[in-house]
């Protein structure tokens, strides 16, 4: 399967929320659930201002923390996208804690996040959000083509935004959403260096082996699993925080 990616051109997005609405209707999301949130950003003081919109959504990380910690395989990688099979989600909430971008939410006791419109794409269509974006701020396709498009857009806006850059090519092991940023990531409320490797490594090498026996059970008995898994998870979190503290000390 080809590796796909989204293009998200933050410099071009005008905050209209057509993407949010198209996603909600196309995916029949229940009231209160949104896979994309537009958050107004303002920098400076009147009248010397800059601003735009943060487009908060699943970034489909290549080394996805949520996938690494998901004990049931509900979250998985496919074609560059971070997919979700809600049917096998046990509701353990590992993913909500692990995601460095705070993306997965719990809806009706199960994980809920952008599934990259996998069914639509499989049927030959385009993700709903991409299809409707009036600003051409969103695209979807082959990761290499998307990356090239992002680079050419950055080149085109350099005069207007000297600090313009591509984000997501390598950050956090590469994101499935390649962004065109008009400014430095920190300024736009994005981590300059998302700390995913530390988190995931800690998790995989230290924390999960310690509790794996119990978590394995959850795959079999989903009903009870959430409770057990949640309890395990609380222990794991404690361990994790210890590891993090260690890491901090050693800095």
């Amino acid at each position: 399967m080809a590796t796909n990616a989204f293009l998200l051109d933050i410099s071009r997005c005008i905050g209209c929320q057509a993407c949010t609405a198209a996603c909600k209707t196309g995916n029949e999301l229940p009231a209160g659930t949104q896979f994309i949130q537009l958050i107004e950003q303002t920098r400076g003081t009147f009248p010397n201002l800059e601003g735009g919109f943060q487009n908060h959504r699943c970034y489909h990380c290549t080394d996805a923390a949520c996938v690494s910690v998901c004990p049931t395989g509900a979250l998985f990688k496919e074609g560059g996208m971070t997919r979700l099979n809600r049917d096998v989600c046990s509701g353990c909430q590992y993913c909500t804690d692990a995601c460095p971008f705070d993306v997965p939410q719990m809806v009706d006791g199960r994980c809920s996040k952008c599934d990259a419109c996998a069914d639509v794409v499989a049927a030959g269509g385009t993700p709903w959000c991409v299809r409707t974006c009036p600003s051409d701020a969103l695209r979807f396709g082959d990761r290499q083509e998307i990356l090239a498009e992002a680079q050419s857009r950055v080149a085109a806006i350099k005069e207007r935004y000297p600090k313009a850059r591509v984000y997501g090519e390598t950050e956090a092991g590469g994101l499935g959403v390649i962004m065109v940023l008009p400014d430095d990531p920190e300024v736009l409320d994005l981590p300059a260096n998302p700390q995913v490797p530390l988190l995931v490594n800690t998790w995989q090498k230290v924390v999960q082996p310690a509790t794996m026996g119990l978590t394995g059970l959850s795959i079999l008995v989903t009903g009870v699993a959430a409770v057990i898994a949640r309890r395990n998870h609380m222990q794991e979190l404690k361990l994790l925080h210890k590891e993090e503290a260690k890491a901090d000390e050693s800095k």
Binding site: M1, C16, A22, G124, T132, P134, S135, D136, G141, R153
Partner: protein, 763 residues
């Protein structure tokens, strides 16, 4: 074997339903293997639940009316997408358009015709049958006609079914008192300024030739917040190409954040800025001199008029840096003639709005923008014959943004008993489409003659017309009030007869004919049956017509018959239009070359009239003059209002999907003021205007994005109708705080940005 084939055909079918125009996946032909419908406990996605039916229609979630494809399975609509064949949507939609399904399935919809049982305004009704409701309406209308003449019936129409009542029925019945809020409460100044200056109106779709545009100037236009789909698309493309953007706005709007130059102007002073720009263009000889020599009239008078109106003069008025004024004039001139000021849409601001618009068009003329590639194209209406009805009892439509371009004649049309419009045209104001707010007065005073009945089609009366207390008084005075609507908007409680309408996804409508660079015609067909006991407007207008002696106008029995009769005149039919994806595109005449030597300007001089004899004769300024508007008193802020990208008018606040995305409006207020007054972001406050009218509570949005002398809120919130279960009581209501307006003496527009509010902490 059979199974495989089924999968293939389903997949092909899905492809046509799901494939869009945007995105690399489809454009690049990315073949990703199809998966079968997901199995297991969860319900499969809607597009696997059965055969998808695609219906071509036209969105009605805002007045822009993008072409849409409506996807339904069985008797349920699931998704609306942009129709790729449509020149406006081009396959995309805004958030509101996406919310069209949610609008239709709003559980608060009106379900049945009703007759009033309690006092008017009490909102007590009994459900009745359609014949009962229509018989009652017909009887009352005929009695009023008998006693006062047909002109005593006013018809207010808004949204895309307005044609059947505010145009077709009103003209057949014989009242010149049909009005649309899209005129005097929105675009009249922009249209009349264009008629006076260029000899033709702007028309619904601002004729910006976006493809080659190199410099865009916006004055109070909020692209992105005003989320007209096509404009957002065109703006994004032009911006992406590197076109310069100049935004004049007291507020750092979404589009101001994309601008190369933002001019945070003092509200109400735009004409001073425009005159200073004209001064720079002329003084520095940066205007298109050849173009002006060939196509403009009155240049010398204009040059003399602005000789002293320097950036320094304007700076003192506008509170802008004079160098910024000078620089932006030069930036505009650097890109001429691919440089222009966009007319914008809602321009009824201060009561001198026609003059401001004429000043903007003067800049555009100096930039040589009209009729030039990358400037303004000349739009053209599509060719199609009207339905062959007998001559109307009163000709001349109510106007409005969907009106056909037409010259203003010296004589106002009169009704069968010899009465012209009661809105004061030619006395209180000079010209233009019927002024809705001026029809309220005769309902109260009986002058110049009484208006006794009001049919309100889709107009959100109490959230649209300024001076709500006066409108309430008028409602109490009338002999008959009929409300035709989809939802129980506030004024519905004041009706004697309520007629519930089917939404656009459930009905046929008049063809949508669009004056455009490529004139086109769009078809609206129903995707599903009307909800409960609702009916389309064409059916209601016809049934009513048959009951009041207008049978001759309603020889057609169905909307299909009406539409097909019209389509026949261009060799088409509903059937053929379906095959052509619901759209017929014709050839336009966009540039000078297409006029083969004759002038495209339809003024008396055949030129762009920088100096207007017509205005001089009427005692108005022949060249725009800056007239100051009153400043807010101490402790008060000027109340500005506008749009949020997911809402339209006062129409969508109760639509579940859109309500979720923006449930209540906020009061934008300068962060420094909030801190100085000991308040904080998110505080809930009440607003009181200069006349003591109150609205709230509303959340403070403490922001650097607005000047300290003004506050801003999205229009359409702060609703007072419990039957609107989601919208009721959320936020503040700008219309309630607009107890006054200033009448534009030229166009009849109601300038509404002349209200001031102060913040009070409790109700």
């Amino acid at each position: 074997m059979g199974k495989v084939q089924l999968q293939i055909s389903r997949r092909t079918f899905l492809k046509s339903a799901l494939a869009g125009s945007a995105g690399l996946a489809v454009a690049g032909g990315h073949a990703i293997p199809a998966v079968a419908a997901p199995e297991g406990s969860a319900e499969p996605p809607w597009f696997y639940r059965g055969q998808i039916k695609t219906t071509y229609s036209v969105c009605d979630m805002c007045p822009w009316r993008c072409g849409i494809t409506v996807q339904s399975v069985g008797d349920r609509v699931y998704k609306i997408d942009g129709n790729p064949a449509d020149p406006k949507s081009r396959g995309m939609l805004c958030a509101r358009g996406q919310g069209g399904v949610s609008f239709m399935y709003d559980p608060d919809r009106l379900r049945s015709p009703m007759l009033r049982t309690g006092e008017r305004g009490e909102g007590k009704f009994q459900e009745v049958t359609w014949p009962e409701a229509l018989d009652a309406m017909a009887e009352k209308l005929l009695a009023i006609k008998e006693q006062y003449g047909p002109e005593s019936v006013a018809v207010f129409g808004h949204t895309s079914g307005e044609f059947w009542f505010a145009d077709y029925f009103a003209q057949a019945w014989g009242t010149p008192n049909a009005a649309k809020p899209s005129s005097s409460l929105c675009t009249s100044p922009r249209e009349e300024a264009s008629n006076l200056t260029l000899g033709f109106p702007v028309g619904g779709h601002e004729p910006v030739d976006w493809e080659g545009l190199r410099c865009l100037t916006l004055i109070g236009s909020h692209i992105g917040e005003d989320s007209r789909n096509t404009v957002m698309q065109d703006f994004a493309k032009a911006w992406g190409r590197g076109a310069k953007v100049i935004v004049v706005d007291p507020r750092f709007s979404s589009v101001a954040a994309k601008a190369d130059y933002w001019l945070p102007i003092k509200p109400g002073t735009d004409t001073a800025l425009l005159l200073a720009w004209i001064n720079v263009l002329i003084a520095e000889k940066r205007y298109d001199a050849d173009y002006i020599a060939e196509w403009a009239d009155g240049f010398d008078k204009l040059a003399a008029h602005v000789a002293d109106l320097t950036p320094e003069w304007a700076a003192a008025i506008t509170e802008l840096d004079p160098e910024l004024i000078r620089t932006t004039a030069r930036v505009m001139a650097d890109s001429l003639p691919q440089s222009l000021i966009m007319p914008g849409r809602h321009v009824t601001w201060y009561g001198n709005d026609t003059q401001r618009m004429r000043a903007a068009y003067t800049v555009n003329a100096l930039l040589g923008a009209y009729g030039r590639e990358g400037g303004f194209y000349f739009n053209k209406s599509p060719y199609i014959e009207a339905y062959p009805h007998p001559p109307f009892a009163v000709a001349g439509s109510a106007g409005g943004c969907s009106a056909e371009p037409g010259a203003e004649s010296a004589e106002l049309p009169v009704g069968p008993s010899g009465k012209a419009r009661a809105d004061g045209a030619r006395t209180k104001f000079l010209r233009g489409a019927t002024a809705m707010q001026e029809l309220i007065e005769p309902m109260i005073t009986g002058e110049p003659y009484p208006i006794k009945a009001l049919i309100v089609y889709g107009t959100n009366l109490l959230n649209t017309v300024p001076d709500v207390p006066r409108t309430i008084e008028a409602l109490k005075n009338l002999d008959l009030v009929v409300a035709i609507d989809v939802l129980p908007m506030e004024h519905v409680a004041w009706a004697d007869i309520v007629l519930p309408e089917a939404t656009v996804l459930e009905r046929y409508d008049e063809l949508w004919t669009v004056a455009h660079k490529t004139p086109y015609i769009a078809l609206r067909e129903p995707a599903v049956e009307p909800y409960a006991d609702t009916k389309p407007a064409w059916w209601m207008a016809r049934e009513l017509g048959m009951r009041v002696g207008l049978e001759n106008y309603f020889k057609w029995e169905t909307a299909e018959e009406y539409i097909n009769t019209r389509l026949q005149t261009i060799g088409s039919s509903i059937e053929k239009m379906r095959e052509e994806k619901g759209i017929i595109v014709q050839k336009g005449k966009p540039y000078f070359a297409d006029f083969k030597g004759s002038s495209p300007f339809l003024t008396k001089t055949g030129k762009i009239e920088l100096y207007s004899d017509e205005l001089a004769l009427a005692g108005q300024d022949p060249i725009p003059v800056y007239t100051p508007t009153e400043d807010p008193p101490d402790g008060f802020f000027r109340l500005l209002y506008g749009r949020h990208p997911v809402h339209t008018f006062a129409k969508t606040q109760n639509t579940p999907l859109l309500h979720e995305l923006y449930p209540e409006n906020e009061l934008w207020i300068n962060a420094g003021i909030v801190a100085a007054q000991g308040m904080k972001d998110g505080d809930r406050v009440w607003l009181e205007n200069q006349d003591g009218a109150r609205s709230g509570p509303v959340k403070l949005k403490a922001t650097e994005r607005i000047r300290p002398d003004a506050v801003f809120m999205a229009h359409g919130f702060g609703r007072n109708e419990p039957a609107l279960t989601l919208a009721n009581g959320k936020g503040a209501n700008d219309a309630q705080l607009q107890t006054r307006y200033i009448l534009d003496p030229i166009s009849g527009g109601a300038g509404m940005r002349v209200n001031f509010v102060r913040i009070v902490k409790e109700a």
